[in-house]
């Protein structure tokens, strides 16, 4: 085996590791926003009939892009920041599970999510 072969094997392992970290990062982001996460402190989405949680999806736009979003824009936004839409004012939480600011907490915890994905301990 030549040095060139060793480098090729090493690069292949790095590529696989990168792919694993990328996949795991997306999975942890989705979980943090939707179900909550000890890594970020996000409480996850509130649950009434389950429609809000079910509205969130994670799809691969291409090999290097994951899209995580919700189709319930107005309902989702007021559950995120507590600002009632369309009228404004406080949007009171009705669910005993989940809470506010899961997207913001996930963004603030992105570094911790990547660290967890790299460590493979989540």
């Amino acid at each position: 085996m030549t040095l060139s072969d060793d480098i090729k094997i090493f690069n292949e392992k790095i590529d696989v590791w990168d792919r694993d970290v990328f996949d795991k990062t997306g999975e942890l982001i989705y979980t943090s926003i939707v179900e909550g996460s000890a890594i970020t402190g996000a409480p996850g989405q509130p649950v009434d009939e389950g429609g809000l949680r079910a509205s969130w999806s994670r799809v691969y736009e291409d090999a290097n892009t994951q899209l995580i979003g919700s189709g319930l824009s107005s309902y989702n936004l007021q559950n995120e920041d507590g600002i009632a839409r369309p009228g404004g004012g406080e949007y009171k939480l009705k669910s005993p599970v989940g809470g506010r600011h899961s997207v913001a907490l996930t963004v603030a915890g992105f570094g911790a999510i990547v660290d967890a994905a790299k460590a493979g301990d989540a």
Binding site: G41, I83, A108, G109
Partner: protein
């Protein structure tokens, strides 16, 4: 772990100390529609329509209070004063006009944090066209970074979110200037004493302002999200 109540109150206290615009202590007079000056400029001082102001130092008691700016020129500040009596649910808001008060020195008008504040778990009944703020204090993560567990360094993170409801349909200046001034109180590296601990404004995920949302029933709202971090010595209870 840190005293979360102290952290919450420290963040709140930082916000309520906000000064967006001020005349400083200068010579001012009052008119039936607001305040006037013969030197200096309300515009240069940073006042814009939609800001809530507090006035002080005037001889006539009616001129010392709070109001919302409805017009600004260099030499005149037109203000809709208001006064609140009673608690939320039974409160009464009156709109007393300013009264004529000849010019004198030592008077101040300041635009700062709204006097209507929807603190967490407290009722608030907003008044029409009077700005108000809602807060969310959101503790998030807690972990021990160093060994041993007892006396090890613990890290906690969270968010402090302020939602500033402003006067609608007057443009973006009042909300954006106020929000920017507020953000400058929480820039990365800012330290706040919280009991025996220190709350630090994060730099890896720093304070960020949002989009001005014009709501359908009479408010425009702008959110400020402040990520914070705090360290403390972990204590294992005996």
């Amino acid at each position: 772990m840190i005293d979360l109540l102290a952290a919450h109150l420290a963040l709140r206290g930082r916000a309520t100390g906000l000064v967006v615009a001020t005349t400083g202590s200068v010579t001012l007079s009052a008119t039936p529609t607001g305040f006037a000056r013969t030197a200096g400029s309300f515009l240069d001082d940073g006042f814009v329509v939609g800001m809530e102001i507090a006035s002080s130092g005037f001889a006539q008691a009616a001129n010392n209070g709070v109001g919302v700016v409805v017009g600004v020129t260099d030499l005149a500040l037109t203000v809709s004063m208001f006064a609140v009596s009673g608690a939320a649910g039974v409160q009464t808001i009156t709109r007393p006009a300013t009264v004529v008060d000849p010019a004198a020195a030592g008077r101040t008008i300041t635009a700062g944090f709204p006097s209507f504040r929807a603190w967490e778990n407290k009722p608030l009944e907003p008044g029409a066209t009077i700005p108000y703020v809602e807060e969310d204090f959101v503790p998030a993560t807690h972990k021990v970074l160093t060994a041993p567990a007892n006396t090890g360094l613990a890290e906690e993170t969270g968010l402090y979110v302020l939602k500033w409801y402003g006067v609608p349909e007057i443009g973006v200046a009042a909300l954006r200037k106020s929000n920017t001034a507020l953000a400058k109180l929480f820039t990365p590296g800012t330290h706040l004493a919280a009991g025996a601990d220190i709350v630090r404004m994060r730099g890896d995920a720093a304070v960020v302002s949002g989009q001005i949302l014009q709501m359908s029933t009479g408010w425009a709202v702008l959110k400020l999200t402040i990520p914070w971090r705090a360290y403390s010595a972990n204590v294992v209870a005996p």
